[in-house]
């Protein structure tokens, strides 16, 4: 299995649906990109062109917006995206050890996607759950008070 690259028809249908929902006002650009990203896993170049045609916003502008925000990706990502909080509150509570355990368990570096397309590993800024640090997010599931020992068990929940 390799990283899932979506085909043109799927991109077209998704963009049509999202534009229908939000309209074409420039204010809706970020919501449109968020929805496309959520449906396709990332924002392919074709999607940028289609959004540009619909909204009359230059493709270069859309590209610059899509690459600015950390929740938007212009590259294909793995099936599951792990976001690990690297901020001070989690760090002070032993986050660095958990991070080492994650690197070891998956065997890739920060920002990379594993060869089998299963995992993308990223660090993130504060997730707003600092009372239970260290915190990590796998897809939409938030894990708090994570210890290095728990990492393999948490990862094994994802197929």
């Amino acid at each position: 299995m390799s990283v899932n690259v979506v085909d043109g028809i799927q991109v077209y249908n998704t963009v049509q649906k999202v534009i229908e929902k939000h309209g074409t006002h420039s204010e809706e650009l970020v919501p449109i990109l968020l929805d496309v990203n959520a449906s396709l896993g990332y924002i392919p170049a074709e999607a940028v062109n289609l959004i540009s045609q619909a909204t009359k916003i230059p493709a270069s502008t859309i590209e610059s917006v899509a690459s600015f925000y950390s929740m938007l990706s212009t590259k294909p990502r793995g099936k599951h995206v792990i976001k690990f909080c690297e901020n001070a509150p989690c760090h002070v509570m032993g986050g660095y050890k958990v991070w080492r355990a994650l690197l070891e368990a998956i065997g890739i570096e920060e920002g990379q996607t594993s060869a089998d397309g299963k995992w993308t590993l990223a660090t993130t800024s504060c997730l707003g759950a600092c009372g239970v640090g260290p915190v990590m997010l796998v897809d939409d599931d938030l894990y708090g008070n994570v210890t290095a020992e728990q990492v393999p068990e948490i990862l094994s929940r994802y197929k």
Binding site: V30, V65, S70, M71, P89, V92, M93, S125, G128
Partner: protein, 556 residues
């Protein structure tokens, strides 16, 4: 003296006597006698309790319940409920928020924790955030009704100004003044924006308010819109807060159905609508002009100021941008008045502050306490003390807008003014409590990495300064630092502070300044002795990935 079950104290300062304290005493005696409790209950008059507005007070021990103001006619109910049946006589209790000083302390001691002052968090956890009627039952939308039917916009602004409310997002700008600027600005339409892009590391107060009491923000924004003459509002909620977005969305729908939003609200010639706008993962969008850019569908890069958003904000129109916690203070202030609000906190910083407590303490979590409480009090009372066997080394008061607070400042009152005088900043209310096992170089490194990552890259002092500073800190933590590095840090830091375009760059230097000011010896130990005193830093060259950072930069 025989053993008694309950002790009843009745205030007998002149005002209490004037309001019937002696009669209360006599009726209490008679009532207790009648029910055959005379042996078990002792009743005494006490002197001045320090609070006159809720006199006469009746305090019942051992529960330490404070009742007030009590009238002689309340006595039978009080005696029957509390002294006979042993339960608190509901409805007679003095409102917690009305208490202060010694009496508040007494009232507070009935639980395991001293009382918080919950103004902003009053409803959180007690009402169903999906049900507007729960909020209405807690006086919800009452402030809006009063404002729309009885007050002019200028009167509203005057009340907010008198209350002394300051922005709770970190900068502490007087809220009433901001409202006045927008109200006086020319241009239509005007906008009200609620800044809920809470990305400050360690802070999650806004999330809790939005998730637990979404209607309070809708009410506050509607009041603000009326005061400044706006017709459209946006709540910009960071993308990671999915639940908050959902709940606020539902709350807006319900408010519309009940006529609190939409056209001709309360039958007045006043229309207001609110849109929820999701962020997409960018710390910088918490900066008000970057947030406005983001709503407009652009990269979240801060604008040059002036002009300020109060005159040239969203789509170039006058825009009021307020933090969630600031707005949550608005309905209570308008319900109870500016004088009521000024009773809390310190004269220069009235009101309460929501803090998130994190780090090496026994209890982490969130509290709302009056402005002016000290760090020592927070740690020893609310956080249950430091974890066993460790002592306080420093506290860090929130991502970018805060500072490193050494243990020597733990008795400084936490309010905007006192902290400003001490040369530190309160920030957004995150209190990261660090013990002696925390290395200050390591902490500064993590903070600087955050700033490097979140710098939008628009202006050079911030974009390059954060990277350079991080490289130097990495070098020091790797055991390869020189004394020249400290000089370099001292040169870079003020430049970032003075020359950066927005708050991110200006505060990126703050952790370094704090580190060099309070913990210089520890930094020099890393350099001169090649030792990390706490054993946290690797000191083996493994961190020095300058080239990698630079490579990543070029790649991006």
């Amino acid at each position: 003296m025989s053993r008694i079950r309950s002790l009843v104290l009745i205030s007998n300062d002149p005002l209490s006597i004037n309001r019937g304290a002696v009669e209360i005493y006599n009726r209490m005696k008679a009532e207790v006698q009648r029910l055959g409790l005379a042996d078990e209950v002792e009743i005494s008059m006490i002197k001045d309790t320090g609070r006159h507005d809720i006199a006469p007070l009746v305090i019942v021990y051992p529960e330490a319940v404070v009742y007030g103001p009590v009238t002689p006619n309340d006595v039978p109910l009080l005696v029957e409920e509390h002294l006979l049946k042993g339960r608190i006589a509901m409805g007679l209790q003095a409102p917690q928020r009305e208490l202060s000083g010694r009496i508040a302390w007494i009232s507070a001691r009935k639980g395991t924790l001293p009382a918080e002052q919950r103004i902003v968090l009053k409803n959180v956890g007690l009402i169903d955030p999906y049900n507007i009627e729960d909020y209405i039952l807690q006086d919800g939308y009452q402030a809006l009704a009063t404002v729309l039917t009885e007050k002019t916009p200028n009167e509203v602004i005057d009340i907010i100004k008198k209350s002394g409310l300051q922005g709770r997002g970190g900068a502490g700008f007087p809220t009433g003044m901001k409202w006045e600027f927008v109200s006086k600005a020319n241009g239509k339409p005007k906008y009200v924006v609620c800044n809920a892009d809470e990305s400050e590391p360690g802070t999650f107060k806004d999330r809790v308010i939005l998730e637990g009491d979404p209607h309070s923000i809708i009410e506050a924004m509607t009041i603000a819109a009326y005061a400044v003459g706006a017709s459209v509002g946006y709540i910009y909620i960071r993308g990671e807060y999915k639940l908050a977005q959902e709940r606020v969305g539902i709350a807006i729908q319900q408010a519309k159905e009940y006529g609190f939003l939409g056209e001709n609200i309360f039958g007045k010639d006043f229309n207001f609508e609110i849109h929820v706008h999701s962020g997409a993962g960018a710390y910088i969008c918490g900066e008000e002009t970057a947030l406005i850019e983001s709503i407009e569908g652009k990269r979240g890069e801060p604008r040059s100021r002036p002009p300020y958003p109060t005159t040239h904000g969203l789509w170039g129109k006058p825009t009021l941008v307020n933090n969630v916690e600031t707005l949550a203070n608005i309905p209570p202030i308008l319900r109870n008045g500016a004088d009521w609000y000024r009773r809390f906190g310190t004269p220069s910083s009235p009101g309460t502050k929501v803090y998130t407590i994190l780090g090496n303490v026994n209890i982490t979590g969130m509290i709302e306490v009056p402005m002016g409480i000290t760090l020592r009090e927070v740690i020893s009372i609310f956080a249950g003390g430091m974890r066993e066997g460790v002592t306080l080394k420093l506290a860090q008061t929130g991502g970018s807008s805060g500072s490193i607070i050494p243990a020597s400042l733990q008795d400084t009152p936490m309010d905007f003014e006192s902290y400003r005088r001490a040369g530190v900043s309160l920030g957004s209310g995150a209190l990261l409590i660090c013990d002696e096992n925390t290395c200050v170089v390591d902490l500064a490194r993590v903070l600087l990495n955050f700033f490097r990552r979140e710098s939008c890259g628009k202006c050079t002092p911030c974009r390059v300064g954060t990277i350079r500073a991080l490289e130097i800190l990495n070098k020091i933590a790797d055991g390869m630092g020189t004394m020249k590095d400290i000089e370099d840090l001292e040169e870079i830091t003020p430049k970032m502070v003075q020359l950066s375009n927005c708050g991110l760059g200006t505060t990126a230097g703050v952790p370094i300044e704090g580190m060099l000011k309070h913990f210089r010896a520890e930094v020099e130990a890393h350099i001169k002795l090649k030792v990390c005193p706490t054993g946290v830093c690797p000191m083996d060259g493994s961190l020095t990935k300058h080239s990698e950072i630079v490579r990543r930069l070029i790649a991006v």
